[in-house]
Symmetry: C4
Subunit: 374 residues, 4 copies
């Protein structure tokens, strides 16, 4: 029988082997306990979508145009009513205590140190109030619709009180196709790690009318347009919808009054076989027009990935797994360093393509790259 492997203790310095943001991925394997790593790394099913997400960025090449004057170039942008220093946000990632004792509080400190907007998860392992205290001025709250609508309302009220500036409703996780890798690894959530925001709440028992267990489960928290419209109408904050992959749905959400959308397949964690977020982005941008805020996540591992996403229609991108990997290696310092590397990689792409602003990237033409052989 295999011995359980003891992960390394998080560092209080930047390890010298990190040459690019993505290097945190390989290094994190030494800092995260194997079953937890399977949970974090794995996609749903057989990881097909996980691979497609990465692969989608390889299909596009950036054409250098190194002749521009970059003296006044900037990465700053505005996203609806928000001004951002750069187009990287920290994606909502649940249960960060799995990889670092300081958990979301460390992440919040890194966000503050790098002018980064953190999107705090409903399922964070510390409360949103604690996160708010440790973070800088920029933070959004990610919301799962709760079986009991009253509980949903309470979460929104708490977010408003703690000065979160937007609500991000995740719609693609009402039921999830399990990760075969996680099932095989035998991961179960440790008792001491809980969804801190939800501790006083209890999920109602299922009462679906369908004979199907799947269909009944689904209805308990299904994000129907009716529910979303009510939330948008009643919520004092801008409401952004996360998990949109269909151009028709994107247009409908725009018309419903959403403040923006996140094109996302949940990092390949919902339905295996879903196409890459990036592949669906251009049609979605076409469907909602040039000015509607569109963010993207799923598969970003470098500044050039972000550059490609923006060239194909995104305004900004969310960073999920790299956030957790950097957190596991070196806590707040790791996350801040990872964000600094991403930003420099991104600036390099801007300089090499002569893009003096993030907006200019949108009119950059990428080159379709296809390999001939294996």
């Amino acid at each position: 029988m295999e011995q359980p492997q003891t992960p390394l203790t998080p560092l209080s310095y930047i390890p010298s082997e990190i040459a690019c943001a993505q290097d945190y991925e390989a290094l994190a394997h030494q800092f995260i306990e194997p079953k937890r790593l399977a949970y974090i790394e794995g996609g749903s099913g057989h990881d097909r979508t996980l691979q497609l997400n990465r692969d989608a960025f390889q299909k596009w090449g950036i054409i250098p145009r190194p002749f521009a004057d970059m003296a006044h170039a900037t990465t700053a942008l505005t996203l609806g009513s928000h001004a951002l220093e750069h187009p990287f946000l920290l994606a909502p990632v649940a249960y960060q205590k799995l990889v670092h004792p300081n958990a979301e509080l460390a992440t919040a400190q890194a966000a503050a140190a790098t002018d980064t907007t953190m999107v705090s998860s409903t399922l964070s392992s510390v409360t949103m109030e604690d996160i708010a205290e440790h973070s800088g001025a920029m933070r959004w709250f990610q919301l799962y619709l709760q079986p009991d609508e009253q509980n949903t309302t309470e979460l929104v009220i708490r977010a408003v009180k703690s000065d979160y500036q937007a609500i991000v409703v995740t719609v693609d996780a009402a039921v999830q196709s399990p990760s075969i890798r996680v099932l095989r690894a035998g991961f179960v959530m440790p008792n001491e790690i809980t969804a801190a925001n939800l501790e006083s709440q209890f999920q109602k028992p299922h009462e679906g009318v369908s004979k199907s267990r799947i269909f009944s489960d689904y209805m308990v928290s299904a994000p129907t347009f009716a529910r979303l419209e009510k939330l948008i109408r009643e919520c004092p904050l801008p409401v952004i919808i996360k998990g949109v992959l269909s151009p028709q749905d994107a247009a409908a959400l725009h018309d419903l009054g959403a403040a923006g959308i996140v094109v996302s397949n949940h990092g390949g964690r919902t339905l295996d076989g879903t196409p890459a977020s990036l592949d669906l982005l251009p049609a979605i941008r076409d469907a909602v027009g040039d000015r509607f805020p569109v963010l993207l996540d799923s598969g970003i591992r470098s500044g050039s990935d972000a550059f490609k996403a923006i060239a194909l229609g995104a305004d900004a991108v969310l960073i999920g797994r790299l956030q957790v990997y950097a957190l596991s290696v070196a806590g707040a310092l790791g996350v801040a360093h990872m964000l600094k590397l991403l930003r420099e990689e991104f600036e390099l792409c801007m300089a090499m393509t002569g893009c003096q602003s993030v907006t200019a990237i949108r009119s950059t033409t990428l080159h379709s790259v296809m390999r001939a052989s294996c």
Copy 2:
């Protein structure tokens, strides 16, 4: 010299490592004797079509549209004159005693327990009468045209007497390209396993007029349109034709009065190099119109595969190899469990795409997925 490997005894419980229907495939390697496994697993020739069948499903991605109300969703459908609870049928698979002592009787019990239509093979290792006794209300009989037409008629009469509700004529196996893998493995059918339905019948000697052995063999049981038309005219049950891959042939069979077709390359077991069934499906659906029953087999290993087949033009799908694998692992219980998993995987796709009925899936648009690199 390699020791012959002793397969495990079938279980009487569901093994905990099964996380999805396809997991029965890997597990079955421990429960089926290697030479028999080669016979079951192998395709014709060098398994090229076998691989194409699997690969065809990877070319398509499902786009989540998670906003629908699924409270009244259902997997039920009608197929010609038949009402089905769900679009999974058990494909005709010969000689099931090869993998489990209860053989087709166990399969029949699983079909009954899960409201599944079983298509019983001409080459079953127990008689169709015994199968009928053990199964529920839904069963079809698969027919190979016999060298002696009288024998064909007798098989149909027996099927009618045992309340089979349709005849499925397999047309793509008059001659078969041998499986190189099976020839290498040295598989021969054990003496104690026989085609129970045919025990009193003897194949007539070949009397072809052609100098070619292949052409002569072929004519002994060739499913010419003339023979099929006669069968359709005389048979009191609906006649479905299995093994159709050409749009022109599909249209001709529709005009001939067939009750439906099965788009199939026999799981890659006839002519190596035949394209995937799934790749040929859309053109066939176009050729026969929206209302003609079209089933598909060859390559289905998950509920999302079935969802894709239906989105591309099928009404329902047949499950072949997974049936045998689940049977080998845990008999009737295994087959029933495998069918339950398939159905739940399928329901998950419906919920995530907002399809409230099987019919609605047909208007779902899949996304073409192509990887950029290896």
Copy 3:
């Protein structure tokens, strides 16, 4: 240092592990001395064209249409003025003593036994007169233009005297890109193996006007249209041109009076990076019209490969490497058996697609097959 491996002695029976014609390829590795095998197996350069030749057949799938009456089906065809029993010819392969003591005489016996036309090489290791004595009625002579035109004429005269029925001029080997594999293996032609037809002839020294060694070498035996036209005009036998890959050249040769062409890249042995013969075939057929004899070689390893070549525009195919492999394993018996297997594999494709004649295959539509992932 590695021990030289001793190849097995040729068999006088058919080994039981041969399940298809291509199986002779793997088995031959035990019967041919490694350096000689490198020479026979290797393509020019890095074997890129060699791989493309094989791969080209994988791009096409055959769609079964198993409903035809094959009682009077036949593989016979006419090719210009020649009547063939089936569309397989034995390609000219040099120096067959490298793999079997009976060499081309064994091959000729196999050709006679299977109603196959043998194309005897200028570089055969026994004389064309000896081959003629051992073969049946059907034989063609492959000709390399000699540095001294007088020698070319003498070879043609000898072929006419020995009742060869056509001259096949190979045009793609005036200079050859060396096989890296052969150079690495250190193969040199053994002293006892010689070009028996040329023993009395001596190649003239190079006298090119160009400063370039390559260009000078090339001109010594370059098959210019002027030389070919003269040969066609003066030769009493039909002249077929082998090594044609350009549609323009094919049309020009048709107009020049050639009796046919062989679309060939010399089995990948001339210029590495040349496309597959099969890929260029359809455009060539378009360029020469339906009735001009077009043969194909390079990459055929099965009856279904031949079927595909004919469906894409060929009248018949030449078998090169499989001929040598079968010869090495079991001499005349092996070659005859290999041809029988090819023919049966081919007949199976005809039966499964309802093609009652070779001509009917030309109007068969193949299905383009592309894999999605690796």
Copy 4:
């Protein structure tokens, strides 16, 4: 811990295992110290562009047309005001002392011996004056714009004095994405190897106005059109711009008065994910018209690669890594031999395609090659 590997001493003869120019690549692994090899071999980032460069040549096949009279064929060409014996130039490669004690002086001797134009690097490890003394009549000087414009001017004046015949300004290296492989290998430039041309010069401290380190660094030596126009206007030699990948930029440089361009991604050493130079070549040729000198580098490893580049729009090609590999193995002799092999491989392609001049290659049609499977 791994022992540092001792590289072999350069040879004074041609090793017998070299069968083609590319063979110097594998052999060089024994002659270059591992960390230095990583620096030379590696591309930027994860070597994606490095692979794309090689792969791009595999997408195209050359169609043999072996019927031409090559008696008066030639590889000579004119490029603007320069007459070249053949279309191979030695690319500017920095710090050649890393692989051979004679460094750029050996390379210059090889260039002289083979009628090859050498492009000498700003960062050569011996001075351009020394190189000029050892080389033949043909040499160009590669220029990096210096932070202090005065230094740039001084370099040009020295090049004019030493009879360099053109200035090649490299524009794609103002900032570079680091090679992950090099960072991992821990390569640092040895103290004894310096940029001999720059020894008296000191880079000015950065004074960018941007908050971004990347943008500030970039501006120190950014090759803006304004700077390039001034250089072209003031320089007494033709100015060729190297590192052009965009058709728009190519057209702009043509209009600015450049004497030509080099389509190049710096051998995959600048921005990882940049498409292959070859893939971008046809659109660039279209943008600048037929007569503007266009060279290509990045990925050429054989004479057939060069043939393909010319068929797709280049006038001539630059050889980078093969130059260093051959230098490391056998100094001046190795480089001269490598160039001879490239030229013979190229002549073979001309003979096999009937191209009697380099200009004729431009109207040759290549065949697009795509593999079906892996």
